[in-house]
Symmetry: D2
Subunit: 310 residues, 4 copies
């Protein structure tokens, strides 16, 4: 199932949501998450079990993580009384991270990717300045993102512990996973697609995703995502297949079609292994999911720790 | 209602939860949030309205915020195609912050404060090293904190737009606020106490909290919080009265009694103005609250964006 | 001696070095420092006394320094053996700084300032991208800057401990200081102009330079600097008068005329108090001066610690 | 020429300078650089040619450099007029680095390494706190280090382009290099030992120094360095042989003997290829050398750009 640049153009145009929520809209498919949608999602909660979908913030460089986060103490126990205030003993730290990349669980804002100089809703790349994104920043999601989460567990469907690098998940497989799991992705959902990355890492250690590859969605899945009106898309990889499939001009077709055409925010590098287990245990692949980006004005995204509640 | 050092000692001993959940426990009062508690909290959701309780990450220095966060672009629209990959156009940024202080909405881990060299459950300050906290770090909350949130709105109780700096909220007022609002704080709750800081800032601009002061809880409230078995305590200030009340050796008695004695995590510098409005509008001061610290191993806390769902 | 925008235009055009060292030149007046010039500067050395011209890197916020440097330990003595290598005990730290501003001793690269979208030699501001300066970066000075340094001590000339904020040093005063000190500024020199900032700070504590002001060079001095073919200009302030003199479109005329028109690098926020003393003691206001910017490709400058050798 | 732990103990004790410059001394062998020494060094200058001994600050991760420096624009040309001041157009950046490691040219302060919990002059490791080094910090070198530099070019001596990883340079070779070059290392000198690392990198690309190794000084050289009273020791590697020679408890014997026993500061990861060429061209292996650490109080070292003047 190969894809030509012409077909990618066609898909890109077909899935476009530009203008759908007004010419000035910067929230994109987040508009699909209505209060009623959230209230319904909350009603899914039964046992109250929670599962984080984030990986530990990586602070050591490794193959998948060449530019780790900075975590440094400002004051530790050895100097806890150096506060200048008698009786005040404290420890403090600093956390900093260029979170885009292949190892930090993060959300991509709609200003993170451009196609031929344009981002979601036709705004120009020049709106994303060296002093920050004047449009389509993560600040549109500052109230948090709470909705129904649905996990489609592709390794489970295929009966393998994980998908190999370069594997492309097809629309048919999304349908098949829905059926196998007895769940249907609906408008306003946060769709998480598991490829078994955690299982592979546990077994084989970390690898460079560009070289060792990552499973991802076949570009044709963009149409599926648009049809179902997914609000946010997430993955244990980066939703796109790595290494890229080689369609000229479309190195990350899912990023390009979701962030730019549809206005669908992405969740990258999630930890979905334990969520998959929890879903299987509960025999239920839907849950209340809450994503809380840091309120960074002009930001291109944020590290996040999405929480699923069963 | 003044407090002596001797009385503080007494309160500190009375509210201690050391050993309550085992000699090795590092989660403290988070143990009070059971799955059942969470499930009940989810059942509170009615309209699906969400309200963030976090302030914008401050990136400019001002009176309340002398050491702002770093937010810098790694690559902006002007260089979005400098990726080395044809067709890949992207923007990325870096966020870094020493989040403790007076302006960033954050959670304090149980390793953030010590009393005479000890932190929660008797662990020594020396466990918090220059390479990070080996015990009581925020990593205990890595799955997220989801529970019933309760807001006690003290300006509303007093009939004022905000409490002045140095104002001490008494246990009686907590009782009175409960009655006025028709809500009762229970075991495992996340208790948020509003002092009107947002309203004051909006009117008067930012001020230095140490000089201009902040309203906070009277030290006697520690007993109330322990009695009710609050799991997490939050405020638009820092829960403590500023400038300190002047009890020798107890500069931040609420920090010292919650983090150290009780093992109650703190949420500092929240934005509670809009939450107060939402509660008043719904005439309901309880809600589902979700707090998702970044998964920083060995961290002394995390910037957070707590989300209330009505 | 007031200045109109028209006069500033005239000065700016008169002092321009664009094209003087070729259409592609990015080094500007650094071209004036020949090996022979350096060798002559080395011959000035007599006693071998050294004096640093830099201030301590500021790590605490204060009035003149709202965005201090980050200095954090990565590993301190309390964890010095946590290296994973038996016998290896070490301590390490991190230093980070946005060095432009009013408190860090630093050098400004020629890409630091633009006039109507152009920088030195007519290169467009768009050459300075979010990924760094593609032209006129500090990398042109990567071999270091070593030349004759000359100090003109204006408080000494005026017989005052320091010049008040807003004071403008005139070309006549530069001449007068030369004569009083028995020194003459020549082509390729690094000219340091002292205004007594250190003395004022020591007496009155730090102040906000924009409000409390800084002494600086009157805009007419740009002609003097060009005539003498100064290679690099430095000051204990920022060479410009603060608050700005109010010439429309020319908020920092010296910055604009040196960096942009002449291609003269600037040294800002130096510590010149001890250098002034040393010069007076030696009765000699010339010395070997060495400035060693960090080799940051694409950088807009660098923190520096210039060393004078007598 | 293998070395036992007992022999290392003996060497360590023999080269100790503890107490030599007083019980409170924190400057160590920098005391050997007298004003007269500096004046003599300045008299070495003939042509005025300058050569930087620093590498470009690494901002991209690679094999030898897993934790690169941060270099980010705060404001670039695309937003140069977003200053709030009419006519003020500027670009600014941020530089940050944990400079110890294998790729940044830096100076090690005497608080960087400990032997059994002690650093130079017997001060305890506990003096190096999470809030910074209270003793033996780089601040002792805040006036800069200016002295005679001497390069011993070992690849030249051996007639090879570079020394292989793991190669140990012996004291005899230091003597032989002196003779071959017609230079003698004397008290107060800054000794630079070239191993050809730049040449190897240029040919073979960057490698992980721990795996691919680095040439360094045999531990017996510590005695030679002490005998000659070298003030500062530098290398294109890290002065020590990598991988370590395997003497139990002495993973980095040169670091341990210089920093801890002798109080000799180290310059690591220099770029000595061009300096070697310049020395050969001038047929002179001595020069004026100036090293200007950033004035970081409590720092464990500093990135530097040492400048040689011929």
């Amino acid at each position: 199932m190969s894809v030509t640049p012409a077909r990618m153009e066609e898909i890109f145009e077909k899935v476009k949501n530009w203008g759908r929520w007004g010419a000035d809209d910067q929230a994109g498919a987040l508009n699909l998450i209505t209060p009623a949608k959230r209230a319904a999602a909350a009603r899914l909660v039964q046992t109250g079990e929670i599962v984080s979908c984030a990986r530990e913030l990586p602070v050591q460089p490794n193959a998948e993580n060449p530019t780790p986060a900075l975590h440094m103490m400002v004051m530790a126990g050895d100097a806890c009384d150096a506060t200048g205030v008698p009786g005040l003993e404290t420890a403090m730290d600093f956390v900093g991270v260029a979170f885009h990349g292949m190892a930090v669980s993060h959300i991509d804002a709609l200003c993170h990717v451009f196609v031929r100089g344009q981002m979601y809703n036709g705004f120009p790349a020049s709106d994303v300045k060296s002093i920050g994104a004047l449009r389509n920043s993560i600040f549109v999601a500052r109230e948090g993102i709470v909705s129904r989460g649905v996990l489609l567990d592709i390794p489970r469907l295929r009966g393998v512990p994980w998908l190999e690098g370069g594997a492309a998940i097809t629309p048919d497989e999304l349908d098949a996973a829905e059926q196998a799991q007895g769940v249907r992705v609906e408008a306003g959902d946060i769709l998480l697609v598991a490829g078994g990355r955690d299982a592979r890492r546990e077994k084989e250690g970390p690898w460079n995703p560009v070289e060792g590859g990552l499973a991802g969605l076949h570009p044709e899945c963009a149409l599926w995502i648009r049809e179902r009106d997914v609000a946010v898309l997430g993955a244990d990889g980066v939703s796109d297949v790595l290494p890229p499939l080689g369609v000229e001009g479309w190195p990350l077709p899912i990023h390009q079609c979701t962030l730019v055409a549809m206005g669908v925010h992405l969740l990258d590098n999630l930890m979905l292994g334990r969520l998959s287990e929890a879903c299987a245990r509960h025999r239920r692949w839907e849950f209340l999911l809450s994503v809380a980006p840091l309120r960074v004005d002009r930001g291109t995204g944020s590290p996040v720790n999405p929480i699923a509640v069963f």
